[in-house]
């Protein structure tokens, strides 16, 4: 590939940037304004959820948006802090240092840079397929459990009491003794905000539409609910002097842009957080790519999964360099961006400018913002992630998938995010390997009077006692090679009448070297036992591979084009009977 096409591949901005017009610019600027308003409270809230000072949330919402605009292939994805990644950040950084210490902040920044480097490496080495091994039931169970845990954790700030713990049990345990010390002012603010936000979510949009607003405008306005709650409660705390009655407030948020700096280059720290960083990367990527694909499909746009890894990697490295914590493409913010009409990633870059301006000039306005309000916005946001009904739906379709999901939920709630996710992935891969190693093998027989062969267990078929026809419904390769050997050994030992074995191979897409050697061994062993081995319906590419092999030279039987050819070459009478039957019932 030459330089310009390489650049176009790794820098999607060159493609959409070339077509950028003044009209698109005007549009993207309006979108950026809307998204900025929505993102400011979200960024503060997720920073607190991650156990970090609020401004870190703002820092993580600038550079990543700009970098994604340069490297990302989705036109409308918005990256920044999200709930689940913030929870995972808190769990991982909490293992290294205590909240509030510089070491804790350093660990959060290191998580961003290590996640970013991992994503970048996966993108450049085209290892995105690794994310596939996070199966849907596992990711869905994990997000549900994370949502429950985040919501439970935010009950502390909403009620004005201390809450801390790496899992649901520890969280609840830490809250119970403090229930007597609930701060009534805080609880009123928190409770009212919760009630207001639930009302906004459920009833504001229909109400606005009844007042004549269009569907989209009403939807957008309803999304501004958290901003209204923030303005109202901040005003109340300031006006009524509630912070002197024990209502915790955000306080001084340092003004000005973050200083760009290299993240902590502490290899021992990096190794310590490697696994959590990998999990944050993969969970973030899976979430992000699925949002990106969904939005792209609405406008028939293309999203490149490998380039998305690179873009998310660069976004996280950008977050780290500007003092932020791990980011990813978020569902809520991307939908707002899309629905507001974003046409290019430039809208994201303009949003970054909006947040920068807010960070420079508006932070004094946030001084009296109560933590309880932010906690309430988090609770309302994450409860939409909780989907316990998925357990029932998964159970109805597949018991094993449901088991993997339940294990993920239980371990996340009772042990922690890392244990839950690792157990889910481990169990999925284990079950995958288990199933792979025991492929479906059907004994087939002829449907009388036809040239068709079907499973003897499902159809009325005729078989010849001296011939065992097996259809293997899988590719032959090392995970199942030995299974086939064992299966044939068992079948032949159990039935002394067998003189021929025919392997019907229409579903065999590949035969690897292990399976080839197994077939060789099967052929020789059958020969020793006086049994001939045949193959039928071998696919073209498989046949190409087998052509020059020792196995084909040693094969005691033949390779037949069809299963019918195979059976009738062994038993010509069968062919005569079949043709007669077809003459009678054409």
């Amino acid at each position: 590939m030459n330089i310009p096409s390489l650049a176009r591949r790794y820098l999607p901005i060159l493609t959409w940037g070339a077509e950028y017009s003044r009209k698109t610019l005007a549009n993207d600027l309006v979108v950026a304004l809307i998204v900025t308003v929505m993102l400011i409270p979200q960024s503060l809230a997720y920073a607190l959820l991650a156990g970090l000072p609020p401004q870190i949330g703002l820092y993580a919402s600038m550079a990543p948006l700009v970098l994604y605009a340069i490297f990302g292939t989705s036109r409308t994805l918005a990256v920044g802090p999200v709930a689940v990644a913030s929870l995972m950040t808190a769990a991982a950084a909490g293992q290294v240092a205590s909240q509030g210490t510089p070491e804790y902040l350093g660990a959060a920044i290191a998580l961003a840079v290590v996640s970013g480097l991992l994503l970048l490496a996966m993108g450049l080495m085209r290892l995105g397929f690794l994310a596939n091994f996070l199966s849907h039931p596992v990711i869905s169970g994990f997000i549900t459990a994370s949502g429950i845990q985040i919501a439970a954790g935010q009950l502390g700030p909403v009620l004005g009491i201390h809450a801390e713990g790496e899992n649901l049990v520890d969280l609840l345990k830490s809250m119970v003794p403090n229930l007597a010390h609930i701060n009534p002012y805080t609880a009123v603010i928190g409770g009212a905000t919760l009630a207001f936000l639930f009302w906004v979510r459920g009833s504001l949009k229909p109400l606005l539409m009844r007042f004549g607003l269009g569907d989209r405008a009403a939807g957008m306005l309803a999304k501004v609910g958290p901003v209204m709650a923030i303005v109202a409660t901040t005003g109340a705390v300031w006006g009524l002097g509630l912070s002197e009655h024990g209502v915790k407030i955000v306080g001084t948020v340092p003004k000005g842009l973050p200083k760009l700096a290299l993240p902590p280059m502490d290899l021992a720290l990096w190794m310590k957080i490697l696994v959590p960083a990998l999990l944050i990367s993969v969970v973030g990527y899976v979430e992000s790519i699925s949002v990106a694909l969904t939005l792209a499909a609405k406008r028939r746009q293309r999203v490149d999964p490998d380039q998305e890894l690179i873009a998310l990697g660069m976004s996280n490295i950008g977050a780290a360099v500007s003092g932020g914590f791990p980011v990813t493409g978020g569902f809520a913010r991307s939908v707002v961006n899309f629905e507001a009409g974003a046409e290019t990633p430039a809208a994201g870059a303009f949003t970054a400018i909006g947040i920068a301006l807010a960070t420079m000039f508006l932070t004094p306005l946030l001084f009296f913002l109560p933590n309880a309000t932010l906690a309430a916005t988090i609770i309302v946001a994450v409860l939409s992630l909780v989907d316990l009904g998925a357990l029932r739906r998964t159970y109805a379709y597949s018991r094993t998938d449901c088991a993997a999901m339940a294990a993920t939920i239980l371990l996340t709630l009772f042990d922690g995010v890392e244990a839950g996710l690792l157990a889910g992935v481990g169990l999925s891969i284990f079950l995958h390997l288990y199933r792979t190693s025991r492929p479906h093998v059907a004994v087939v027989g002829q449907i009388p009077g036809t040239m068709n062969f079907r499973n003897v267990a499902r159809h009325d078929v005729v078989t010849d006692p001296g011939v065992l026809s097996l259809r293997v419904d899988a590719s032959l390769y090392f995970p199942n090679a030995r299974f086939i050997e064992d299966y044939i050994n068992g079948a032949v030992a159990a039935n002394p009448a067998i003189r021929h074995i025919i392997l019907e191979c229409p579903a065999v897409n590949t035969v690897d070297y292990s399976a080839l050697e197994s077939l060789e061994a099967v052929n020789l062993r059958l020969k020793d036992g006086g049994v001939t081995l045949h193959l039928s319906e071998v696919k073209g590419p498989v046949m190409d591979g087998l052509k020059e092999t020792h196995f084909l030279k040693e094969l005691t039987g033949q390779i037949h084009l069809t299963q019918y050819d195979a059976v009738s070459s062994i038993n010509p009478e069968l062919a005569i009977r079949t043709l007669e039957a077809q003459r009678l019932n054409p």
Copy 2:
């Protein structure tokens, strides 16, 4: 299952024991005598190879044989110390303690008990499929590299110089400075034994047959070559007093049976050797089951892979309790047992008695046995394991399999057995996951005038620009679910003319919950983009599963019995054209 059938399943001795006759007894006794003579030098040699006192080899050749006779399902497999497991034992125990210390012996015994427990657990939990992930190229590469390394290591004792190292490089490095101190007497004994044994292997059997011996008798006699070498060289050392000229001899081998004792119950030690013990178990099991299947096939007997795990597990626990080191079913000894005419595992039990008698009465005869002779027998035995030609054969068939093999060989030789094996297994599983996650997807079109659809890249077919027909040659499940999503997203974005997508599913054996959700997402996204999704040729069991799902209710298109039905329902003109063509060319 009731008690008697459970007992019959887990104690195969109850089955063959019930039919045991006096004639079989006489036969098995003769076999036992032959095998005993062959096993004694082998056991001593492999103990020295494992860095253990010679009698440990004898100890490991008694209890395991008896326990395998009770629990094993192969009639002819002979278990005991083997070359590769001995090398692995030396590597693992050497990481815990120095050769010659009681801790080293304790580690070797602990390896046997932990291997045994792991095998037993795998057998009871039916986890034998885990051994499948040791692909043929990896195991073959590992055995070749082990053979090279063992042979190189035995050059030390053959020449009478010091040789030590965990890999080939260290071994050769440790020998070079000592080449000046070669003991000439030792080198003559070692060299002569090597030459004699190679001659025996290559020329003795044909010679004996020319003197009128039958094929089998000649073969058996040729196998006694090592015993002849031992008698001759022991006699020479004794007669010529060579041990006073620096020829290292076996010396005093403690007389009498081993004391039964619990193995060291040191959990810290067990954890330290867990991974090597697992590798020894799996490599031993793979070797053993393949020998067992090969021999069983010759007499159409059944080998039960799960019960074999239990039998090998009990054999290793037996080895540990009687002071021995890890054992497995060996190729050479099993073939001798089989060819001598063993009919039941009782032959093995009688062999154990033979070795016990030898241990009680014959060990003084071994005093002057030179180590060089044993080293020479090892070299000749292991060189038959080395098969570098397999690299070429594997390369001709599959580049990736060859890469896994080469990586295993190189890492084993340049780093050590554990690293080589783990790298090979890791690489195989990685490549497996990679391939699994990118299934073959063919765009198909109609072969003109027929109802058949084939890959557009391989056949002359016609397609409709508004219809994209895709044949997925794999089951749909979480490793490839996202790939299909990406594939369809890319295809639709690249071609705005597409109005229908048909997934032809004859090779889809299962659809798991992840793939179901992916199909749901694909359906909704295509709907948003104005494209209809259809399925065709869905298999019965897959259709059963889909029936009650949300996906089927939401599906924008239809499920068609055949790909032809699907295409002609979208484009009825095509059906008319096809039928006309068939009328013209029936």
